[in-house]
């Protein structure tokens, strides 16, 4: 079992790979920085929705193959977008 100690003010996020395959943990930290947890929740979902829409439009063009080799995708995120079921829980400590 993993244990970790948190304190007041921390925000805990739990998410499935529908979120995690589109956003690295560090990217989630960046896009939620300074936000109230409910706003942070929406920011994560909006970003992932945007990426999933791009995936639908662009996944068959092959352009994301380049990002696998050379670095971040052209939308600035590190992982190629991916469509999947998604779940997100945010807990304000």
């Amino acid at each position: 079992m993993t244990q970790f100690f948190v304190k007041r003010g921390d925000i805990v996020y739990i998410y499935s790979d529908g979120i995690g395959d589109n956003l690295l943990p560090e990217e989630i930290s960046i896009i939620t920085r300074g936000q109230y947890y409910a706003d942070a929740f929406r920011a994560i979902i909006d970003t992932v929705t945007g990426r999933m829409l791009r995936y639908g439009l662009e996944s068959h063009s092959g352009q994301y193959h380049f990002s696998k080799i050379f670095g971040p995708c052209k939308d600035g995120f590190w992982q190629p977008p991916k469509a999947d079921n998604r779940s997100l829980v945010a807990i304000q400590i």
């Binding site: 079992m1 970790f4 921390d10 805990v12 930290s29 929740f41």
Partner: protein, 198 residues
């Protein structure tokens, strides 16, 4: 018997926001939770969220792959943890550290439902009260559902991230994959899990 709530479905691309639910745990913390099938993905949502406000427990499960009962496996795994059919410590003992943890959760669900064809990843979280400023998170994990902790008062975040229990992560840890990008880009993590298990 404790009371708990399970979220399983959201409709369409705006489903997650539309189905957003708010809870207040017994320890006083506020929880926002939502799930949907994703944008342009499928008509099925194999994810499942369970929240037991009384006992400060939250489980997020992600049914794996195209097995016909993966949706059911996720729901059953959440139910059996929150109903206490498996204690939290039994769950973590059976799943944690196992690269094939996702398969074990399917086995767990089978134990309460008969034969089903489906496996699930999950994170089970219990928040425990501790005197003073700090609270303890106890985390049981299988597969690639993630938990991170962000602390607004520090520069480097997240301050904590669970490590996936997948074949892809094992390859990264062993040096077979040297670049973290390859972990995310070159491997289909869920597929790796399924191939390994088969």
């Amino acid at each position: 018997m404790c009371a708990f709530e399970i979220l399983t479905r959201g409709n369409g691309s705006s489903g997650l926001i539309a189905s957003l639910s708010q809870f207040t745990l017994a320890c006083g913390y506020t929880v926002l939770a939502g799930t949907d099938r994703g944008v342009g993905y499928s008509d099925v949502n194999q994810d499942c969220i369970g929240i037991d406000v009384e006992n400060n427990r939250i489980v997020v499960a992600d049914g794996l792959g195209s097995d016909k009962d993966s949706e059911l496996a996720a729901k059953l795994a959440v139910e059996c943890i929150l109903k206490g059919q498996k204690s939290f410590h039994e769950v973590q003992k059976e799943f944690c550290g196992l690269i094939n943890g996702a398969d074990r959760t399917g086995t767990l669900a089978n134990g309460f439902s008969g034969q089903i064809e489906g496996d699930t990843c999950l994170i089970a979280l219990e928040i425990q009260e501790i005197m003073g400023q700090f609270k303890k998170l106890s985390i049981a994990q299988a597969g690639d559902v993630k938990l991170i902790v962000v602390r607004p008062s520090v520069i480097y975040n997240p301050i904590f991230t669970t490590v996936d229990q997948t074949v892809a992560q094992e390859a990264y840890d062993s040096g077979e994959i040297k670049d973290k990008r390859q972990y995310y880009c070159s491997f289909s993590k869920a597929d790796s899990n399924v191939h390994f298990l088969n």
